[in-house]
Amino acid sequence: MRCRTMEAVAQSFQVNLKYLFNFHTFRASYNRGNLYLHLEVTAAGATITKQECSGYLCFEEDLLKHRVPKHWQNLAELALPLRYKLPEEEKAELWGWYIQNDESRDIIVSVLGGASKVFTRKDIAFLRLVAENLEAKLFELCLLQELDDKNSKLQAAFDKINEQNAVISSIMEYQQDVIIERTQEVASKNARLLEVSVLNAHTVREPLSRVLGLVNLLELREWPLNEIQESIMPRLKVSAQDLDEALKEVIEKSTADLIKLKA
């Protein structure tokens, strides 16, 4: 039987187990590491529970402890769950076995029989075979389930990575835009600064060229002192003052421009 889920295994047991031997309740409990599996089959249905705590019935604890097969005919002393209760005339009997394949694996199998469903010793070989094969099947399913879980976790992680990659890409794109924008800003500021400096150079150069021109005149020829005092000096003084004014103005303007451009 190729069952892919616990439910399918339980379904199959409910349908097929009754053809192998007679029983009211068949129960198998498995333990591997911290994983506990319990299969219970009755005429009414079959269940498989999978849990991380033991969940043994009282008589199972007893089997686990003494590790010998048992056959109970007086069930009243066993504190069985209500579902194990059979009519008086059935003369209920409980069979239990402890099977150990290696240190880390425990198998406990039990059968509740009665007058209408007689379990006999010749059925034990079959029961053992079923219990051991069932163990392999159930843990295979557990592994498959774990694999599925891990796959879906991997897929989730993968999706998350893709999502974050997209976010990173968009951040990088945004930063690219910001860099381009800032570069343009810097370029335009530089151009403006250059413009300002050219403008300032012209403002300064006008009075300076007057000063230079007047000085050149002095070298042109011999000048009588009174002519220098009357013609050259007053003009030199005015030009020098204008140069001073121009420089002051340029410094003021450049400072203001720098402050404005930094803002």
Partner: protein
Amino acid sequence: MKRIVLVDDMEIFNFIMVTSIKNVDPAFAVHDFTDPVMAFTALEELDPHVIFLDLNMPEMDGWAFLDRMQQKNLKHKVYILTSSTSELDRQRSSAYTNVARFLVKPVEEDLLEEILHENEDASGNSFQHI
């Protein structure tokens, strides 16, 4: 003798130019104007051989002066004389056919002498304009 017109709103520049020109040859007739409008009005009557023209002036700048000359079809030889070293101004001035050179203030004496003499052509002092 050669007639020269100076147009510059700064009197000091005109003073420098007059003194320098007279130093080259005291016989040159130099007419200096601080008002470009008055200079333009007197232009036809003075009929100068050479005009030294400033660019940066209030009311009418050097460019406007050149444009008016073009409009009135005046072809007097113009030397632009400016304290601006701007390459843009230099390029702009080359668009006017009557602009001979673009000079940056202050003009060295040697260069001025060369300019004043290069305008003495074979026909002597009579420098005719069409």
